[in-house]
Amino acid sequence: MRRPGLAWFQILVHIFALAPLVRLLWDFTQGQLSADPIREIQLRTGRHALDLLVLTLACSPIYNVFGLKAALQLRRLFGLYAFGYASLHFLNFIGLDYGFDLALIRADVADKRFIIAGFAAFLILLALAATPIEGMKRRSSRNWRRLHRLVYAAALLAALHFVWQTKADFLVPLLYSAVVVLLLILRIPIIEQWARLPSKWLKRRQGNQSSSQSH
């Protein structure tokens, strides 16, 4: 590791992100996935994907407000895990649930806006996960950045997907949507500048202190 301390954070994130998958597999072997396991797999993988996506979006604001550099370094990891769970979610849908029966899928999907929103979100995550990071970043940093702003579109679509598939209890999906919108607002340039103020002030104060101590 180039930076000391980074590996430690990363290990924590790996454990945090993989734990739900381990639990899912364990519950599967124990027959603990309810009377309708395919639905249970679908609900859990979807929720974990959205959780990780929200964490991905939270990294920049956390860095801005608290000046925590580690948050920026973990953003990509969260994003890749979000894509991982979204892939399981997608595969469970077309594979386990529909048995790759494309005719049946087509008949069912066309008029379901929640599936279209979810699929669009998945395609965006796929594109972001597939973009080679270091090389492309170096070659055209601006394009890479532009492309990766789409993660906000993916999160909004995923939240919409959650709301639209809800039958009766909208509280949780609306809370997720509110968090996603809030995280998006925090990236508006002028708000972002305000958000940076505390960490800047903190830095300046620390700087002053250390300089006064040296006198």
């Binding site: 027959g31 603990q32 309810s34 309708d36 379901k112 009766a168």
Partner: protein
């Protein structure tokens, strides 16, 4: 005018004498079990101590003596396991979480229980549950239950045709529809404290649908009295309609002139119609209506028009545009 009662369908028909009353076969089982009772309870204990046994204790007990006369429905589909039927329930009066219903419903007081039958009838009457059980002998009916959420079960109900009860109260000539109401008691039904639906739950049928022989009031399943999570002590079962039409824990039945507005129609009129016949041609914004997952098996199966009961009920809707009257 109530439509003439259609001839009794041949399939699924079991004469009452074929069914051994619960108390009889239970005592037979007790006799057989007598010697091994100690052994059995030891096993039961060890089973309970195993980490993560899904079913709630009450449901486990219920299913220990589950009984059905057949193992499949008339189409050859296997009965859904008793534990699934009694642990995976849509019953929003208790919880929105299917697996939380059984534990939350465990203490529902189902005795004494009264059903008030009135409205446009010549002989309105309030029946105690025992009156109903005595007057109208139970028969087993193995029905497919197709939930609007695109999953389904095959359930061996015990019950009697709703028509028998309606005939006794004599619907007036002005009666065109039947309106049903579930118990409203937020103390016992914690889900009713939340405003997910306008409580009490209300459902309705056209009078000829209500008089159809397939339409039953169920009081049991798998040979035993209904457990609370499945709608105890008495519920409607209309097998060719989506599950939400089959209203649970009924306290009131009224004959009325106008089509009743059901709880789900009120909550979301574009999604849930009055008829709610199982129909692969009427799509839903969230769930597939062309196919379904049968609980307990992996592959998706095609959904049948009228849930496979078209031969018996399609004539009720002759000339109607079922995409409009969904």
């Amino acid at each position: 005018m109530p439509a003439p009662l259609p001839g009794r369908s041949e399939f699924n028909r079991i004469t009452p004498s074929e069914i051994t009353p619960e108390h009889l076969y239970l005592s037979r089982r007790e006799f057989l079990a007598g010697g091994s009772a100690l052994l059995a309870s030891t096993f039961a204990l060890s089973a309970c101590t195993q980490p993560g046994s899904t079913p709630s204790p009450s449901a486990t007990g219920f299913c220990d003596s589950a009984f059905a006369s057949k193992t499949t429905d008339e189409l050859g589909a296997k009965l859904t396991p008793c534990l699934d039927i009694t642990n995976y329930n849509n019953y929003y009066e208790f919880s929105l979480e299917k697996e939380d219903v059984a534990p939350l419903a465990r203490n529902l007081k189902t005795s004494p229980w009264e059903v008030a039958v009135g409205g446009l009838v010549n002989r309105p009457r309030t029946y105690g549950l025992e009156d109903l059980l005595r007057k109208f002998p139970s028969e087993e009916r193995i029905y497919r239950m197709r939930c609007v959420e695109a999953w389904s079960m095959v359930i061996p109900w015990l019950g009697f045709p709703l028509a028998a009860l309606l005939k006794e109260v004599e619907p007036a000539s002005t009666a065109k529809y039947v309106r049903f109401e579930t118990l409203h008691d937020p103390k016992q039904m914690p889900g009713q404290k939340a405003g997910v639906l306008n409580w009490p739950y209300v459902e309705g049928l056209r009078l000829d649908e209500a008089m159809h022989d397939l339409t039953i009031l169920a009081t049991g399943l798998y040979g035993k009295s209904l457990p609370p999570q499945d709608g105890a002590p008495i519920r409607l079962v209309v097998p060719w309609k989506y599950g939400f039409k089959s209203i649970k824990s009924i306290v009131k039945i009224d004959l009325v002139e106008e089509p009743p507005v059901s709880a789900w129609m009120e909550a979301s009129p574009r999604e849930y119609g009055f008829y709610a016949n199982v129909n692969p041609d009427v799509t839903h914004p969230r769930w597939s209506q062309t196919s379904e997952r049968r609980i307990g098996q992996l592959e998706r199966m095609r959904t049948l028009p009228f849930n496979g009961y078209a031969d018996q009920v399609a004539h009720l809707y002759a000339g109607m545009d079922l995409k409009k009257f969904f």
